[in-house]
């Protein structure tokens, strides 16, 4: 997946308009990044990237880039 595709997927998951997220965006500044969004992230990581994302790992994510780095 390209960086653009990953960001688009994230925006889609968080139900944000295209172009809202930048790699350096702090997750704490995104209202939509709530507990349900985090659960959705887990489902998507599994389906799209075949990677298991745990609640512990999600706690480590501080910026959008942290999530992008996890999405290989």
């Amino acid at each position: 997946m390209t960086q653009e595709e990953k960001i688009a997927l994230l925006e889609d998951t968080l139900e944000l308009d295209g172009g809202t997220l930048k790699p350096e965006t702090e997750l704490s500044s995104i209202d939509e990044y709530d507990s349900m969004a985090k659960l959705s992230l887990i489902v998507l990581m599994d389906d799209e990237c075949g990677k298991k994302l745990s609640g512990e790992q999600i706690r480590q994510f501080k910026t959008v880039q942290d999530i992008l780095d996890f999405m290989v």
Binding site: L39, G55, E56
Partner: protein, 250 residues
């Protein structure tokens, strides 16, 4: 109460436990053996089943590895399992999916393992006449989907609610043969199903405090309820869901 007439004893009973390679299934098998039962252990992982076998008290126990989501594997197990006085359906799988993402494809694995597998196993055991009159079936359901509802737990909850419902229909249909069917509905229990998953350690710690008894369950807490339901002490109990949850659903 002398040991010769202990109504909670499982002495003389041959019991099949699914999901016996870990978690609630493993502990249940071990505790049943301590109550005098003869165990037949099944699960997918032969090595871990062997470990459970080695932890059992007593003799004449056996392992029969099987994948209960596979028709041939299940049929093969039923061919070899012999006559049973008890069955404990512990094999289960967690699932965390917000309902808005719950496509049929994403729902399927939880239902395959948590609903279709145990129901099909029981159906085949009945068809092959493996269950003696007066036998006891115990389904491990959950408070999730039945008494407790949390975001992300919809698919898992639905699979357990379906299983719990079906348990009651089995109870009605099998009552003429005096075969009792009940479920245990655990709250959060400290097993591999809850670690390293969607819920972090920190979230678990916060959640534990909401339990009136201030802790999560241990597998033994569930095993003892299962033993009661397997034993003659519960001879007049069928179609019942025994909630074992530290009081969290009060």
């Amino acid at each position: 109460m002398d040991s010769m007439n202990n109504p909670f004893s499982l002495s003389g009973k041959r019991i099949l436990v699914t999901g016996a390679s870990s978690g609630i299934g493993r502990t249940t098998a071990i505790e049943c053996s301590r109550m005098g039962a003869c165990l037949v252990l099944t699960g997918r992982n032969e090595e871990r089943l062997q470990e459970t076998l080695e932890s059992l008290t007593g003799i004449n126990h056996q392992i029969l590895p099987a994948d209960l989501t596979d028709a041939d594997s299940t049929a093969n197990l039923v061919e070899r399992v012999g006559q049973l006085e008890g069955v404990v359906l512990c094999a289960g799988q967690g699932s965390v999916i917000p309902m808005k993402l719950a496509t049929r494809q994403r729902i399927a694995p939880a239902f395959d393992v948590n609903y279709f597998a145990p129901v099909e196993l029981v159906r085949l055991l009945l068809k092959k006449k493996c269950l003696k009159d007066g036998a006891s079936l115990v389904f491990v359901a959950s408070i999730g989907g039945i008494n407790a509802f949390t975001i992300g737990n919809g698919v898992y909850g639905a699979s357990k609610a379906a299983l719990n419902s079906t348990m009651k229909f089995f109870a009605l249909e099998l009552a003429p043969k005096k075969i009792r069917c009940n479920s245990v509905c655990p709250g959060m229990v400290n097993t591999g199903m809850i670690t390293g998953g969607a819920v972090s350690e920190e979230q678990h710690k916060a959640d534990m405090v909401t339990y009136p008894l201030k802790r999560y369950g241990e597998p033994e807490d569930i095993a003892y309820g299962i033993i009661y339901l397997l034993s003659d002490a519960s001879s007049w109990v069928t179609g019942h869901s025994l909630v074992i949850d530290g009081g969290v659903t009060i």
